[in-house]
């Protein structure tokens, strides 16, 4: 039973070995020139200093909402993608129309939201 999993353990071993070797190599060979910006903890490009409860720009919520919608639409494409060959050309075009409609929605949001995106870019 366990023998069936042997290749996975081998893979895990190789991955671990490679990761350690690469980390050591980069430390030994690579140049190390620290600066204040580089040493700061990384937090999605935002300044991590200050109160965590500050007010975020509304554009973050807009992007989050758009993400939810476009992210979920993919569940309609998955079933088609797994049975792609059996379903034939008609379904292919149907899915293309579906994707086209999604693209139109995306273009619309980009057009409408362009102002908001600009604001978040300039604050960085």
């Amino acid at each position: 039973m366990l023998e069936a999993y042997l290749p996975i353990f081998v893979l895990l071993g190789i991955a671990l070995f490679l990761a350690i070797v690469l980390a050591i190599l980069s430390r030994v060979i690579g140049p190390y020139r620290p600066s204040a910006t580089k040493l700061r903890p990384y937090e999605s490009g935002m300044d991590p200093v200050g109160d965590a409860k500050e007010r975020y720009s509304i554009s973050f919520y807009m992007v989050a909402m758009e993400f939810i919608v476009f992210d979920l639409e993919i569940i309609f494409i998955y079933p088609w993608a797994v049975r792609y060959k059996e379903l034939g050309l008609g379904t292919f075009f149907a899915v293309m129309v579906f994707i086209l409609i999604l693209t139109l929605g995306l273009i619309y949001t980009l057009k409408k939201e362009s102002k908001n995106f600009q604001i978040s870019k300039s604050t960085n």
Partner: protein
């Protein structure tokens, strides 16, 4: 290819959807509001033409692997919805300019909403019902709060959203239980199931509760007055006519196809709902001073009359309901149209009945039109409203619901009080200060006159239409099992 054929049979919805996308892109590329409005009207005009053709020529047929229907009740529902939308868009354009909130987003939202309504009204499967209902509802939540810097509108949108999403949960649970009991989501296959059982009855009751939420029948009506008062007036007209029509057509389809064998069991429930709805709707409408709120409660009362037809549980009852929806669309869009006209000359809060004092003489045509629509809503003869009520009540009598019909007639007579009260203010009260009404646009008054003419026409000769509607149910299980 089959899909092309199906799409052709589904053409009104396809046109509306393509129109919605086009208008959305025009809005995205910042086209002028006038252009967007014109494009919307062109697409809706074509869709209305195709829908009328379907209504007159198309034989009943099932499309998209039996998920939806074309012709028959489907064509009828589609026609009412597209018709209602067509006039709503004309009124909305003028109204939003009048109240200085001319958001172009309203047109794509209206189009997508209409698409959802058509899907709902043509459904033959609970999945389609669900998708249509939700497309409609999500767009309506947004439309209710479209004037987003007015507190009233946004509050009504939130209320509508919370209640709507809540009822969606019940609706889905109902579908799920029905699916679990019968093993299918297709309406005729559910209709073929006769074993009963706890899961089945749980599903049926949750489904009906959710529909009562959506059409605002009485124990579940709390959101209606608030939402109808807070939303932009023409959007209220849209919700109460096209939205209600689509939901009711779907309800009739579900009752007729998916529950033909339990129609007699449901009679008692529907009778109680009808009774409560008629009494409460009319009673509370009497004490309202805000005309929009009065019309909201009156729309609840009308749902009560419609439920008399559903309680009858017969082909006559169902076809009476469909005719009622047609008549109600004419008169309610018209009535809200005139209210919107009075309102846009002033401000959003110009809806108190006292501010209507003496307005009937200022623009005589508008006064007369409002009177016609209100007479029809009250169910006074030679109006579509009278014939619709007559059909519903006679179906009730045939089904032996005499006491219910007596209450209905009394409630309807009492309703004349609050409709006539508006007219008393229009014509027999002196206005406090002279309110100036600007002349309505030609297209605005022309559409209202057209609706009034239709209201009167269906008051005089309803014959052909009622027979046509009756024919839709010729293959109904109810006729097959009728004694």
């Amino acid at each position: 290819m089959e899909i092309i054929n199906d799409l052709l049979l589904f053409l009104p919805a396809t046109i509306v959807a393509i129109g919605g996308l086009t208008v959305m892109m025009l809005d995205g590329y910042k086209a002028r509001s006038r252009t967007i409005y014109t494009t919307t009207m062109v697409f809706l005009g074509i869709a209305l033409g195709v829908a009328s053709w379907d209504l007159l020529m198309q034989a009943p047929e099932l499309i998209f692997s039996d998920m939806a229907g074309a012709g028959g009740t489907a064509a009828f529902g589609t026609f009412i919805v597209v018709f209602g939308t067509f006039f709503t868009v004309i009124l909305t354009h003028d109204y939003l300019i009048g109240v200085k909130h001319n958001f172009p987003q309203v047109y794509p939202l209206l189009m997508f909403c209409t698409f959802g309504m058509i899907v709902l009204a043509t459904a033959n499967d609970l999945v389609t019902v669900f998708v249509g209902l939700e497309t409609m509802s999500v767009c309506l939540y947004a439309l209710a709060g479209i004037i987003r810097d007015k507190r009233l509108g946004v509050e009504s949108a939130l209320k509508y959203f919370v209640m709507g999403a809540f009822s969606t949960g019940f609706f889905l649970y109902g579908i799920t239980l029905l699916y679990g009991a019968t093993g299918s989501t297709s309406l005729p296959e559910i209709g073929a199931y006769t074993d009963g059982g706890l899961i089945y009855w749980g599903g049926v009751s949750l489904l009906l509760v959710a529909f009562m939420f959506k059409v605002s029948a009485v124990p579940f009506h709390m959101w209606t007055p608030d939402v109808y008062t807070g939303s932009p007036t023409t959007i209220t007209a849209y919700m109460s006519t096209a939205g209600k029509t689509a939901s009711f057509v779907a309800l009739v389809l579900i009752l007729d196809r998916a529950m033909p064998f339990i129609a007699t069991e449901l009679t008692a429930t529907f009778s109680i709902i009808a009774l409560l709805t008629m009494i409460l709707g009319n009673a509370v409408a009497m004490v309202q001073d805000n005309v929009k709120r009065m019309l909201a409660y009156s729309s609840i009362a009308h749902v009560g009359y419609l439920f008399v037809g559903l309680a009858a549980g017969s082909v006559a009852g169902y076809s009476a309901v469909l005719f009622y929806l047609l008549a109600y669309t004419f008169m309610n869009v018209g009535a809200f149209g005139v209210v919107a006209y009075y309102e846009k000359n002033h401000d959003v809060h110009f809806n108190n009945v006292e501010s209507y004092a003496g307005l009937g003489y200022q623009r005589p045509i508008m006064g007369v039109l409002l009177s016609i629509f209100l007479f029809s809503l009250a169910g006074i003869p030679i109006s579509a409203g009278f014939n619709a009520k007559y059909l519903v009540f006679s179906a009730g009598i045939e089904a032996g619901l005499v006491s219910l019909v007596v209450v209905g007639v009394l409630a309807s007579a009492a309703s004349a009080y609050y409709y006539l009260r508006v007219m008393v203010y229009l014509y027999f009260r002196e206005g406090k200060e002279s309110v100036s009404l600007i002349e309505p646009k030609k297209v605005y008054s022309f559409s209202l006159v057209f609706l009034a003419l239709l209201t009167l026409y269906f008051g005089v000769v309803p014959g052909g239409v009622t027979e046509m509607i009756y024919g839709y149910f010729s293959d109904s299980m109810l006729t097959a099992t009728a004694p």
